[in-house]
């Protein structure tokens, strides 16, 4: 009987240990205190002769995650001040099969993207993006701060793919939050409903080819797009 009790206790302790490790990893999935940013509807739009709902989504990238946005919101409470971050949240929501116009204010410094494929907009309407109002088909590969790269989770609309580069701040290496910004604007047609993930493809972290630190931590350069 004593052996049986010990066996049960051992199994229970093991289960609790495994559950604790699992919960620990789950907690690493950062949830922004600002919740989900829902794209604003601005009416209807016609693209290639077809009518779509038109929504606008605002993105911001700042050089310091602990700094504030232009609205005075602390981007990443308790976050690493030397790490860049998308602001003010990392969770976004857009409607399915709609034209989404993204207005992206980019304030961070950058450098050379390690794969020139990500120096060009992919999946945008017309294959272009607008940088400070000027339409371009790409950004110089050595002048990139971040990319906004979006795809579905495994099994969700595998043909959908979006990637747009953002040029470095006008202040270059002296980038500061909310100063010297570059306004990047692009539009795309959203995919099927489901959960999508977005992340940056510029090596803006430390070590591991620039994909360590901030790039290997939830909530700074990655997040979800809820397509509903």
């Amino acid at each position: 009987m004593k052996k049986f009790v010990w066996a049960v206790v051992t199994v229970l302790v093991g289960a609790v240990l495994i559950a604790a490790i699992g919960l620990g990893f789950h907690d690493q999935q950062y949830s922004s205190p600002y919740g989900t940013e829902v794209a604003k509807s601005v009416g209807m739009i016609t693209v290639n002769g077809k009518q779509y709902q038109h929504v606008v989504l605002n993105l911001v990238t700042e050089p310091s995650a602990q700094g504030t946005t232009s609205n005075g919101q602390i981007i990443h409470p308790g976050g690493n001040p030397s790490w860049p971050a998308y602001a003010v949240t990392n969770e976004y929501q857009i409607p399915a099969n709609a034209v989404v116009t993204v207005k992206w204010s980019q304030y961070d410094s950058g450098g050379v993207v390690n794969n020139p494929y990500f120096a060009k907009p992919r999946g945008t309407i017309g294959g272009i993006e607008r940088v400070n109002g000027k339409p371009v088909t790409g950004v110089a590969a050595d002048n990139i701060a971040h990319t906004f790269t979006l795809r579905g989770e495994p099994g969700v609309d595998p043909r959908f793919f979006l990637s747009v580069p953002g040029p470095i701040s006008k202040l270059g290496d002296n980038a500061e939050n909310n100063k010297g910004g570059q306004l990047v604007q692009f539009s795309f047609i959203s995919g099927k409903p489901g959960l999508y993930v977005w992340n940056c493809e510029f090596p803006c972290g430390l070590s591991v080819g620039g994909f360590g630190a901030v790039m290997s931590s939830y909530g700074y350069m990655s997040g979800h797009m809820h397509v509903v």
Partner: protein, 277 residues
């Protein structure tokens, strides 16, 4: 001391030990053989019928060969595994000691067996034959996979956290989704921009690591139209689980049209896609 005297001396020494150890059942070998046969049949049946439900469908001869190799190796291993499981199963049932009911301590291990040249020869001979068979089969399959076909085309594969990109040399085309022509050998030149990834076009039946600063080669021949999965088979960081995309096998004409739609010139398409250079 002669061999016989030494043997008798050892037998005398182990006699009191054997008296308190597991009893030998005369019918045990026959029973183990019967169980082995049953287990072997189960193993062979599983090898024949399980792969069709386990593996993705095949889109290349390499995938077909991979499945065939799995089946053949499982059948070859079935009698060996069956013998081990049969001995284990028989031992667990026949020599089980219910110590808790009669307060007896479990018996000591029996004396080691010596002197059966037949069993030793059989054991070594069977192992040698099996290992040689696996080696020859493996070498033949590897040789078939690396054989160069005259109409092969090159595709450069680049892995980076956490995306795959594919470029078609000489055409200026780079894509996120892998598009391939039907009935052609595809030579994949695989590398990585950062850490080690694993290039795995699942239904093609091949897989190779993508290492930074190194170009590795693997080939597969497309033999079926349709889409397939491309995944990363090396845990490579935060979004490894999302490092997957779709590939599509299209006809040669569709492939040429697609290259043109991506901006490739007609001369580069002629040189690359149609001539197989």
């Amino acid at each position: 001391m002669s061999y016989e005297e030494k043997r008798d001396e050892i037998a005398e020494e182990v006699k009191p030990i054997v008296a308190h150890t597991m009893p030998f059942h005369k019918k045990a070998p026959a029973k183990v053989v019967y169980i082995t046969i049953v287990f072997t049949i189960i193993g062979v049946l599983l090898a024949l019928f399980l792969p069709t439900h386990m593996f993705p469908f095949s889109m290349s001869p390499e995938m077909h060969d991979a499945v065939l190799t799995f089946v053949v190796f499982t059948i070859a291993a079935a009698p060996v595994a069956a013998l081990v499981y049969a001995i284990a199963a028989y031992s667990l049932i026949a020599w089980r000691k219910k110590g808790a009911n009669n307060n007896e301590e479990p018996p000591e291990d029996g004396a080691p067996s010596h002197g059966s040249g037949l069993i030793t020869s059989l054991w070594i001979g069977t192992s040698v034959v099996l290992v040689l068979f696996l080696l020859v089969w493996g070498m033949a399959e590897l040789s078939a996979e690396t054989a160069q076909q005259s109409n092969a085309i090159q595709v450069n594969v680049t892995g980076q956290q956490w995306m795959w990109t594919f470029s078609y040399p000489g055409t200026g085309v780079t894509t996120h989704n892998l598009i391939l022509p039907e009935g052609r050998q595809i030579d994949f030149n695989v590398t990585s921009m950062d850490v080690t990834h694993g290039f795995w076009p699942v239904e093609m039946g091949v897989q190779i690591d993508a290492n930074p600063n190194v170009i590795d080669h693997i080939a597969a021949t497309t033999n079926r139209l349709g889409s397939f999965d491309v995944r990363c088979s090396q845990i490579c960081g935060l979004y490894h689980a999302y490092m997957q995309t779709k590939g599509t096998v299209v006809t040669n004409a569709q492939f040429a049209t697609w290259l043109a739609s991506q901006g490739a010139s007609s001369s580069s398409i002629q040189s690359y896609a149609l001539s197989g250079k």
